[in-house]
Symmetry: C3
Subunit: 319 residues, 3 copies
C-alpha cells in the first residue's frame, strides 16, 4: 500500500522526509461479486472503499508517537469507547498502544489466514478464530491498552481491556513471541494467556502458534488454544461452551500468483457440539496495487446441524 | 475544481506527476440563504461543505484503475450496498465502473439542468427527472455496474442493478451517444432503453436527448422518454402512473455571467395527472473557485392540485 | 498544530506556498485515563482522535474565502443545519462567517479556561459558561452568521442565529473588543449583548471580560454577564432561572510547564439556586506536538444539593 507522507518540510524543500511530521493518507477499494448462503444465495455486486489517515511525530527527547483512524470509522470520536482509532507512544522503554489494537493474546499468536479476498470469505467461516475470541468479552468496549517490548528475536506484551461499567473483571492478557531461522527456513513461535469475566463467570485461554516460511514461497501456520468459560454462537443459532480451538493454514506464492487454505475447529465441551470450517483464497497480482482475488469459505455446526458458505471474486486496489 | 494529486514520487522528486499513483483531495463549500415553501416558507441560512477523495493507479499491463468517496458518504463502507463510493478499471477493452455511477440510460442522455445553485433549487422541481427515474427502482440498493466503450464520436454502455433479495428482476439498461459538429455548432445525441421490475410488475423506458452548443455561449437540451409501469409521487402526496417525460433546458454564458432555465413535465396516464415544474439559475464567477449563485424552482401537480417553490442565493466555493 | 498545505503549485514547484489554494490537513490524538463521578466512578481508558480539513482560496478581486470541516463532524453535510462546518469570505469590508462559529457575544468575550486537558475536565464543570449559554437557545440549530470588522486595536461583530421553524425570534448579538498594552502588560477588554427567545419568552444577556497577560508568563481573565430569561439545568436534574454569571481564570506558564485554574458561578434568581464549579489543569510540553495533560473539574448545585467531579491524565498529540 502506497503511503504518502504529507509534511510541511517535504513541501517547501523536497528533501528529508525522514524527519517529517504530519498526516499521511492512503486508500483502498474493492469491486466484484459475492454469493453463497451467507448472502441469501443471491449473487450480489460488491463495492467497498476506505481512506486511511496516519499521523506521526517525535518529541524533543526522541520519543515517537502517532495515531490512526480510517474514513469508515464514524464512531471513533468518543473518548471512552473505541471506534477504530489507535494511538501510540514509543521509546527505549517499549511501546504503549491504546484503542483499536490487538490484545497481548492476539498480538503474540500468528493467525492461520493468509492473503486476502474482497469480502474476507476465507477468514469468516465458523471455525476461524483469528485468536480474537476474547475481544469485547463480557460486553467490553474493545478499548485495549497494550504495552510491548522487544529485544533481539524475542518480544513480549501485556494488555488490559476494562469494563467501563465496573460489573466484570477486566480482560488481561500476556504474550510472548520468538522468531528464528534454520538455513532458509524462518520459524516463529507465539505463546499467550488471557483471562476475563462475563455473566457466566471467569473465562480464560492459553494458546500457542507456530509459523514456518520456506524459501520456495511456502508457508504454514498452526494454532492451538485451550479454553475455559467461553461460549460460542456462530451464525447466531445456538451457543455452546468451548473446550479448545485448533487451526491450520497453508499458503504458497509463486510470481504473481498466491494461494492459501485454512481449516479451524472450535471443539465443544459437550459431545457433538463442534463448530468448524475451512477457507480457500487465491490472488493474481496485476501490479501497481491491483490484485484479482478469489475467496471461499465453508462452515459447519454439529450442534445445530447447519452449514453456511460464501464466495467472492473481484479486484482489490490499494493506493 | 482544483484537484491535488498526492504521491510519493511527487514529494521526493518534484517531477513526473503524470505517472503518479495515490490519493487526491479536493473540496467545496457553500454559504447563503434559502427560502420558499420547500423550507416551510421560512428564510434559512445555508452552509454546506464536502471533501472529495479520489484514488488512481495503473497496473503493470497499463490498465488504469481508481475509486472515489466523499467525506459525507458515511454509508459507503458496506460491500453489498452503495453509499456513494465508485470504483473503476479501464483499458483498451473499455471501462467497467461499479457503485455510485450512472446506469447506461442516465449515462447516455444529457440532462436539461445547467449551472449550479447552492441547494440545487433549479433542478429539484417536480418536473425534473435527471433521466434517473429508474434509479433504485423496486427498492434496489443503487449499486450499479456499467460497462462503456467509445470509438471516435460514438460511445455505448450497458448496465445492471441487482435486487439483492432476489425478489424482482434486475434493472438493465443500454445506451448510446454520438457527438458531431456543424461549423461552429456542437451537436450531441443520446438514445437509451431501460427495463426493471417492482411490485407493480415490469417497467420500462425508452428515451432520447439532443443537445446543441453554439459558439456564442448559448446551449439548448431537449429530453423525451416514453415510460411504462412507473409510478411517480412528487412531494409524497399522491402517486400516479406515468406515460412519458419531456424536458427542455436553455443556457447562456458570457464572461463571468451564466444563466439557465429548464422546464419538465411527467405526463400521467390518467387525465389531469401531470406533474411539472421549471427552474431558473444564474451565476457570477468571482474567480479562484468562487461563484455567486442564485437558484429558483417552481413545481405544480395537477393530480393533487398542489404547488411548491424554493429559492437560494449564496456563494459556492471549490478548492 | 502543524498545518500542512496541499497545493498543486507546491507539488510541481516547491516554491511559493503563499499563493497556494487548496485543502490543508492536520490532526490530533489523545490517550490516557479518565475518572470521577461523571464517569460512574470507574476509571476508564480514553482514546480520541480527529482529522481537520481546512480549505482556502482567493477571488480575482483579492477576496479571500475558505471553509473547514473535521472528520468527526458526520452531521456537517445538511445545508439548513449546522454539524460543525464553517465557511467564510473576507475582504476590506470585513469578514462574514457562517456555520459553526462563535456568535458576536462569544466572539467578543475571552473565556476563563486556559490550557487543555484530554477530556476538557477543567472546562466542563457546572459553573463554566464559555460565554456560550445562548448557543442553540430555544432549540435553534446552531447555524450562526457573524460579520466582524477590525480597525487597529478595536474590533466589533454582529451575529444572527435563526429559528428555522419560525416559532421564536432569532438570536441576535453584538460585541466589541479592544486590546492595549501598558509596559510589559497586555490588556484585553470585551463587551457584548445578546438577545433571543424561547418558550419562556424573551431572554437577554449583557456581559464583559477583562484579560491581563504579564510578561512573566502569568495570565488572568474575569467574566461577568447579567442575564434575563435564561433557565439552566446542569447535570439534567433541576432547572432554575439565572440572574448572572461570573467567572475568573488564572494561568501560569514557565518553560515546558503550564498550569491554570478557573472558577465560575451561575447565580440563580431564587435563593439557594446557584450552580458553581472550578477546574484545574496542568500541562508538560514534550515538544514535537506532544503534551502530557492533567485536568480536574468539580461541580456543585445548591438547588439540587448535588455535586460531580471528573479528572483526566494523558498525552495529547497534534500533527
Amino acid at each position: 500500500m502506497k503511503k504518502v507522507l504529507f509534511a510541511t518540510t517535504a513541501l517547501v524543500a523536497s528533501a528529508g522526509i525522514a524527519s517529517a511530521q504530519g498526516v499521511s493518507i492512503s486508500g483502498w477499494a474493492e469491486m466484484g461479486i459475492v454469493g453463497g448462503s451467507v448472502y441469501g444465495d443471491e449473487v450480489q455486486f460488491w463495492t467497498d472503499v476506505d481512506i486511511e489517515f496516519r499521523m506521526s511525530g517525535e518529541t524533543d527527547n526522541g520519543l515517537t508517537f502517532g495515531a490512526g483512524v480510517d474514513l469508515d470509522e464514524n464512531t471513533a470520536f468518543s473518548g471512552t469507547t473505541q471506534g477504530g482509532e489507535f494511538i501510540f507512544i514509543s521509546g527505549a522503554f517499549g511501546t504503549l498502544t491504546m484503542g483499536d489494537t490487538d490484545g497481548a493474546f492476539d498480538w503474540a499468536l500468528t493467525e492461520v489466514g493468509m492473503g486476502a479476498s474482497i469480502d474476507d470469505a476465507h477468514t469468516s467461516h465458523w471455525g476461524y478464530s483469528g485468536n480474537s475470541s476474547f475481544d469485547g468479552f463480557g460486553g467490553k468496549d474493545g478499548q485495549v491498552a497494550r504495552y510491548d517490548y522487544s529485544f533481539g528475536d524475542f518480544a513480549f506484551a501485556v494488555s488490559a481491556e476494562l469494563d467501563d461499567t465496573g460489573t466484570y473483571d477486566p480482560t488481561l492478557a500476556i504474550g510472548a513471541k520468538y522468531s528464528t531461522s534454520f538455513g532458509s527456513v524462518d520459524l516463529g513461535f507465539g505463546l499467550a494467556y488471557v483471562t476475563s469475566e462475563d455473566v457466566n463467570g471467569t473465562a480464560e485461554g492459553i494458546g500457542g502458534s507456530v509459523d514456518v516460511t520456506f524459501a520456495g514461497g511456502f508457508m504454514a501456520v498452526v494454532n492451538y488454544t485451550s479454553i475455559d468459560g467461553l461460549f460460542y454462537n456462530p451464525g447466531g443459532v445456538g451457543a455452546r461452551e468451548v473446550d479448545s480451538h485448533m487451526a491450520i493454514g497453508l499458503g504458497y506464492t509463486t510470481g504473481a500468483i498466491s494461494v492459501s487454505a485454512n481449516y479451524g475447529v472450535f471443539t465443544g465441551v459437550a459431545a457433538d457440539s463442534d463448530a468448524m470450517g475451512y477457507g480457500l483464497q487465491a490472488g493474481y497480482d496485476l501490479g501497481g496495487g491491483a490484485e484479482i482475488q478469489f475467496g471461499y469459505g465453508y462452515s459447519e455446526d454439529q450442534l445445530t446441524d447447519t452449514t453456511a458458505d460464501q464466495f467472492s471474486l473481484g479486484v482489490a486496489m490499494s493506493f
